[in-house]
């Protein structure tokens, strides 16, 4: 039961965090200059976007849920089952970022979910 709650937090909070960060990064535009000073300036600009901080808060929550889960289960179990974030990510990218997800990509997400189920069943 506790594992299921942590899994939900890892997937839901983690995906929400990534979507927020992705939304923030899209407003900054593509990086062309990789010199340290330019990267530092880029990080400074990123830090001034509200969505970035909301994303970081979500990701922090997901991180501590991951740590709690890792204290109970093996890493070769915990990390693969977090692939459930694919389904959450595809849904979130469609709704929140207005990205178009093709049928082929949805099929891939479905296969990933079957794999996650097999890993979950491998626990016992």
């Amino acid at each position: 039961m506790l594992e299921s709650i942590f899994l939900f937090l890892i997937v839901a909070a983690g995906t929400s965090g990534e979507l927020c960060v992705s939304h923030a990064m899209k407003t900054l535009g593509e990086v062309h200059d990789f010199r340290p000073s330019a990267l530092l300036q880029f990080v400074w600009r990123a830090a001034r976007i509200g969505w970035m901080w909301i994303g970081i808060a979500f990701m922090t929550l997901a991180f501590f849920a991951l740590l709690a889960m890792l204290s109970m289960e093996n890493v070769s179990f915990v990390v693969p089952i977090t692939a459930l974030s694919y389904a959450a990510g595809a849904i979130g990218a469609t709704l929140f970022l207005r990205e178009r997800i093709s049928t082929q990509r949805w099929l891939g997400v479905l296969v990933v979910c079957i794999g996650v189920t097999l890993v979950w069943l491998s626990r016992r």
Partner: protein
């Protein structure tokens, strides 16, 4: 995303960083948390004790450093490739994490788990053969 070979090469290099740093970070966190112990004890004093041990664990900080490197690579790649492309393409890390768990932590990975991970990678393979950009250029 402009459809040029240079941009694709840059994307693949950054995806390689993502695929290596994320699993290594998770394996180090796993090692650290196994040393610290289970978080099943939920009284405030017990939680504080666990938090203190987390913050003073070398494995945890090394893991965080690897995940930070992963995060920076991830943030940079997201400035030119779409989230719904980057997330699936980075999922080969699930195979790498199982291999590292087996080799570095001595975890037992049974046939069903390998099969599940292989199926996840197959899903990734299907998703990975779609175009990086899913939205129109503004």
């Amino acid at each position: 995303m402009k459809d040029s070979p240079g941009l694709h090469l840059k994307t693949y290099i950054f995806l390689l960083f993502i695929v290596l740093f994320a699993p290594l970070g998770n394996v180090l966190l796993g090692k650290g948390m196994k040393t610290i112990g289970s978080a099943r004890d939920w009284d405030p004093q017990g939680l504080f004790h666990i938090l203190l041990r987390i913050l003073t664990s070398g494995y945890i900080w090394l893991g965080i450093a690897c995940l930070l490197a992963f995060f920076i690579a991830y943030m940079l790649v997201l400035t030119w490739a779409d989230y719904s492309y980057v997330q699936p393409a980075s999922a080969f890390s699930y195979l790498v994490v199982a291999v590292l768990g087996l080799l570095l932590l001595g975890e037992k990975v049974n046939l069903l788990r390998w099969t599940g991970i292989a199926v996840i990678c197959l899903g990734v393979f299907i998703v990975g053969h779609t175009h990086p950009r899913t939205t129109e250029k503004a």
